[in-house]
Amino acid sequence: MSDATKPPVATAEPSDGLTTWPHLVRVEFLVALAAMLVLTVWSIVLDAPLEEAANPNRTPDPSKAPWYFLGLQELLVYFDPWIAGVVVPLLIIVGLMAIPYLDRNPAGNGYFTLRQRPFAIATFLFGFLGLWIIPIVIGVFCRGPGWNWYWPWESWDVAKTVDLRNVNLTDLLGIRDATAATWLGGLLLAGWFGLGGVFWLWQRKSLALLQLGAARYAIVAFLWLSMAGIVVKMALRLALNVKYVWVSPWFSV
């Protein structure tokens, strides 16, 4: 008679014995009450905007996406639409979903800690605050007509001229021939992601990387380097007016 034939015993969830009614229900009720109060007052005091009727012949300047997508629209300054509008959102969604399967650190499961999970927390805050919230704030407060930079206190009535002297990275390095530029740019890009391989060679004996295993590490390295790469490309664009890191006959990055 083996255990496989017996029906499983339902294990109780861990509990302190505090009954949901009234303790949890009371907390939920009070929070919901406060939230409804805030929402109601807010809805009485502030009116939702309604601008003039939709006019296909007049494009407003600047034409802004809904605020929660302004982070992506800000990326359009630095990347082509197919990267900023398609590849990056997909990477974000897939990357977020993958987090539980990439994080093999058992510490910090169910409580706040900093010392036990520094890498995970630093990476997430870098992405959430640095690459999502801050671009939204920039898009809302610092972008005016023509998507030019306007400090929040600057009036949008003042027109700004746009500096259009963009170059490619390979131009900066002195390469003029298109084929050579494609090869060099591709090499640079591959080298950037190759840094992940270099790091693995350097740290492959460490506990963290042994816990991860090759497959998880490859994904973590790719995602992390992509996030950091966005910042590097932004810096190149702002400091050196670099438009593309890699130009190829098929697409450019």
């Binding site: 302190d16 807010w42 502030l46 009116d47 939702a48 905007p49 605020w67 409580y111 706040f112 800690t113 900093l114 010392r115 036990q116 605050l129 919230i133 939204i136 704030v137 809302v140 407060f141 929040p152 206190w153 600057e154 009036s155 949008w156």
Partner: protein
């Protein structure tokens, strides 16, 4: 300054201002808790953390 206040108080931008306040406040709550727990972890391990969270 005028333009700044105008943008800041536009009804459609109030949620963003509120969000920034909420993010700063909640990260403060988190950091305080996390640092307190880190000290407790050194002394008593996860059991000490569990005890503090129940208070």
């Amino acid at each position: 300054m005028q333009a700044f206040l105008e943008i800041l108080t536009m009804p459609d931008n109030i949620p963003i201002v509120a969000m920034l306040g909420a993010v700063v406040f909640l990260l403060g709550v988190w950091l305080r808790q996390a640092l307190k727990h880190d000290k407790l972890l050194e002394q008593g391990g996860e059991a000490a953390v569990a005890e503090e969270m129940r208070k």
